[in-house]
């Protein structure tokens, strides 16, 4: 299984999904049309689900995301929810004064049946 690496841009986040079970989503996700961007990510998770590692850790370190991305991010979490045979954990990072980002994480936490850890950092 190959890793999925997408370099970040002004409107799209950095993606580093490793077959070792280390998944990173970092930066800004504000494209006008998010579905296209998130398609390969959903596909990768589906393939990863065929033989996942015992532990899967998802690190979400987003500075900004728009509402167009919010549905796609939910789809990513929902896809992760379907995986069996792996312990999944989502680490949701937010900057110390960014209550909106914390609240956004809590919104997902309320919908998704995967343990979330809210991690406050000084700077993302």
């Amino acid at each position: 299984m190959e890793e999925l690496k997408i370099e970040g841009s002004a409107k799209t986040p950095t993606i580093e999904f490793n077959a070792s079970g280390d998944l990173l989503l970092k930066g800004r996700s504000i494209p006008e049309n998010s579905i296209e961007f998130y398609k390969p990510i959903l596909d990768w998770i589906e393939n990863y689900g065929d033989s996942p590692k015992d532990k899967t850790v998802v690190n979400v370190q987003l500075e900004y995301f728009n509402t167009s991305s919010s549905k796609c991010i939910l789809d990513v979490f929902k896809k992760l929810e379907t995986l069996s045979g792996t312990d999944i954990e989502i680490n949701w990072y937010y900057e110390e004064d960014d209550e909106d980002m914390l609240e956004a994480g809590e919104d997902y936490q309320a919908i998704i049946d995967i343990p979330f850890k809210m991690i406050e950092v000084e700077e993302l």
Partner: protein, 189 residues
């Protein structure tokens, strides 16, 4: 003839940071965001303030961007361009940021949009949170991805009621104005 100095003075007295009239393209959107972000950094607004303004600005501009595809216009190129144009301005006032946009829409869609905004305005913080979560999780995926979350998110992040106005132009078109205010917070840092 347009008095450019008069326009300049008006923009100056309204503390306009950036203003634009025309069709919103993806490239233009990127540029506007970059310019406003840089300006806010230069003006040393707090991190929290900049984030709120940036977030709200993204949604407002992308609303305008997607709105272009919402209706078909037939006729001469110039007329089509005019109807598909928007106006956008962002002001940095003493105690708030003010973002104002204007665009044409089909008169037949006015009632629907008005009732959507009125509904959002009728909700408090918790109500907005609930509506956001419901809309996010309703399984409906629009091609644009957002699926009606834009206005809810703008109301949530700005923490203020959405101010709007419709002007009836003719049978077919109306002009929609949206005013979003973002209160400035004390610069603690």
């Amino acid at each position: 003839m347009l008095d450019i100095y008069d326009l300049y003075k008006k923009m100056e007295s309204n503390k306009i940071l950036l203003s634009f009239k025309g069709a919103i393209t993806s490239e233009l959107l990127t540029s506007i965001l970059q310019i406003v972000e840089t300006r806010m950094e230069e003006l040393q607004d707090s991190n929290k303030e900049r984030k709120k303004v940036f977030n709200v600005l993204v949604e407002i501009l992308q609303n305008l961007y997607h709105h272009i595809d919402d209706f078909e216009v037939e006729g001469p190129v110039e007329e089509v361009n005019n109807i598909k144009s928007s106006i956008f301005m962002i002001s940095r006032l003493t105690d708030e940021y003010k973002i104002v946009t204007g665009n044409y829409l089909l008169t037949e869609n006015v009632v629907k949009l008005k009732s959507r905004i009125d509904h959002i305005n009728s909700l408090d913080r918790d109500g907005l949170k609930l509506l956001y979560k419901e809309t996010l999780n309703n399984g409906e995926i629009s091609l644009k991805g957002g699926g009606g979350l834009g206005f809810i998110d703008i109301a949530r992040k700005s923490g203020q009621k959405l101010d709007y106005n419709f002007i009836n132009i003719d049978e077919k078109y109306s002009f929609f104005t949206l005013i979003v205010r973002i209160e400035k917070v004390n610069k603690v840092k």
